[in-house]
Symmetry: C2
Subunit: 142 residues, 2 copies
């Protein structure tokens, strides 16, 4: 594995820990100020790390206590200064309204090295939808 790929793998490990600990600041740190993100839920797209922070604050506050989180099937492709990775994110927890959630979604994270630091300039998270029902597929498993 290239040293770039090893660095990205380390960042993903940090990300998993930060989501489990609901540490918004540790997560936001890795996004470019003008990151363009495609999220699991509306809207179609968002621009900026402030939007990421707002979304994480909302998401984390919808869970009671800590979140059980992992990223499976992680595949990293990296050159010296451009990299991308993808995997299947799994989030499990209890919502503030008492429901149990266990959901898999697809994650693609794209990095550029800026001032010597790997920085997320684009992220795409989603679930597919069922073409017959028009519903988002929230119960698929790998």
């Amino acid at each position: 594995m290239s040293s770039s790929a090893a660095q990205i793998r380390g960042l993903i490990g940090d990300r998993v820990k930060a989501v489990r600990g609901k540490d918004v600041d540790a997560l936001v740190l890795h996004y470019a100020r003008d990151v363009l993100s495609f999220d699991v839920v509306n809207p179609l797209q968002s621009t900026g790390s402030d939007a990421i922070k707002k979304r994480l604050d909302e998401w984390f506050s919808s869970f009671q206590g800590s979140i059980d989180f992992e990223i499976n099937d992680l595949k990293i492709t990296a050159s010296e200064d451009v990299a991308f990775c993808h995997g299947l994110s799994n989030v499990k927890g209890t919502t503030t309204i008492g429901g149990k959630i266990s959901m898999w979604y697809r994650t693609t994270i794209c990095y550029q090295k800026m001032d010597g630091r790997w920085t997320i300039t684009h992220e795409h998270d989603s679930v597919p939808f069922n073409v017959e029902s028009g519903n988002a597929s929230l119960d698929l498993k790998p």
Copy 2:
């Protein structure tokens, strides 16, 4: 713009033409044999260019005549041998059952240079969903 970025921009131009002309072979040519794709519709993930071909065949045959297709807000990030780009894909057409479709979805395409050719090793296409209704958001506009 770097020469890599110019090459990717050219490939996206070719892609747009190929979708409009329903040219499955011209599209499949650019995918790695073991490409990992996250599509707009189920399943959660697919592996391989054969799955891409099957999906394109199905998708194109669901339209009467040609498809009106574009990718807006294209942003390309490229090094010598790793690149990614993202944009908003818009498909318009008339389905074989007579319905008019005009839909925007998010597209992220990730490339590796293999044997001197830019090759798609990962693609992620999706629409977000409406968290209140659980429905896929098929009518959002940029």
